[in-house]
């Protein structure tokens, strides 16, 4: 019975292997700290074909390619911000979920403080009355 079950599981495992695309060995980095840094960046890069997913969440081949690129660059000693810049150079700010801090994004970054200020003012008016 056990042998039969084992055989069944083996058969079930076969198609998954066959579906692996060409030239795409995705291996985690050996050093856990480096892998963690690579993963942190992957969570902030946007998949190009599935768009609102990060590349760490996506099964799309293109996301897989981007993960391979990220791991290779991080393990070669590149800083995560450099790797992000490499992707932005090719795909624009769109590819990064973390918006850049620039003059034209100032309103976005200031928005939480502006809303806090507005809320504070409203509260003050309430209390005074």
């Amino acid at each position: 019975m056990r042998a039969l079950l084992a055989l069944l599981f083996l058969l079930l495992a076969l198609p998954a292997q066959a579906a692996n695309p060409v030239g795409m060995a995705e291996v985690q980095l050996e050093d856990p700290a480096t892998e963690a840094r690579a993963r942190a960046l992957m969570a902030e890069l946007r998949c190009l074909t599935c768009q609102n997913q990060s590349i760490i969440d996506s099964n799309a081949p293109q996301a897989q390619m981007m993960r391979v690129e990220v791991r290779e660059r991080i393990s070669a000693g590149e800083d995560p911000d450099e790797v992000r810049a490499w992707f932005v150079e090719r795909y624009g700010d769109w590819v990064s979920f973390a918006p850049p801090a620039r003059a034209d994004t100032a309103l976005l970054w200031m928005a939480p403080f502006l809303f806090l200020l507005l809320g504070g003012l409203l509260l003050m008016r309430r209390i005074k009355r």
């Binding site: 060409v22 030239g23 190009l48 690129e69 150079e89 795909y91 624009g92 769109w94």
Partner: protein, 176 residues
């Protein structure tokens, strides 16, 4: 009076939000991400050839000749088979097309070209698909106009349909 209007503000904001969302109904949610490499030189690369054709490198593209088309394709890519007649039409009208086969094997490429025709002057075998990210591609197929100095001048996303052939020929002429 002012305060009354003031309390209407959230409602107005909500109405504005609804209008914004309503305006997007029916539009494709897929943003088209053009490569930001247009106007920049092709990154350094060199790949060996396959299917009897010579390979391709950055040096080949920057050798100072006429502008060429570089087509990212793969044997596993269905739209690549769809655009095959248009690639042939482009060659018939004088275009030079180099292929970059991404994430593919020599056998599969040879079979694909046997079946759909081979429009390529050179074919680079990019087993890992590195050129896709290097060029800023969002998928396969994609076609780039590269001028004689190796500068990327134009990007066509997706398969080439009959109506795109004149556009690409015009872009080749413009890149001279």
């Amino acid at each position: 009076m002012m305060t009354k209007l003031f309390w209407l503000l959230p409602l107005l904001l909500f109405a504005a939000l609804l209008a914004l969302m309503g305006g997007n109904i029916g539009r494709s949610p897929e943003a088209v991400i053009l490569s930001h490499m247009i106007g920049k030189p092709v990154p350094e690369f060199a790949f060996g050839g396959t299917a009897g054709a010579e390979g391709l490198s950055r040096a080949d593209l920057a050798a100072g000749g006429a502008p060429v088309l570089v087509n990212l394709f793969a044997s596993w890519c269905l739209p690549c088979a769809v655009e095959a007649p248009q690639l042939k039409a482009l060659v018939d009208r004088g275009a030079i097309i180099h292929g970059i086969a991404v994430r593919d094997t020599p056998d599969d490429i040879a079979a694909f070209l046997d079946r759909h025709g081979n429009p390529f002057t050179r074919i680079a075998l990019d087993e890992q698909g590195r050129m896709m990210l290097a060029l800023g591609a969002s998928g396969v197929p994609e076609t780039y106009v590269i001028d004689g100095r190796g500068i990327i001048r134009f990007q066509h996303l997706g398969e080439i349909r009959a109506e795109h052939v004149p556009v690409l020929l015009a872009q080749l002429e413009k890149a001279r």
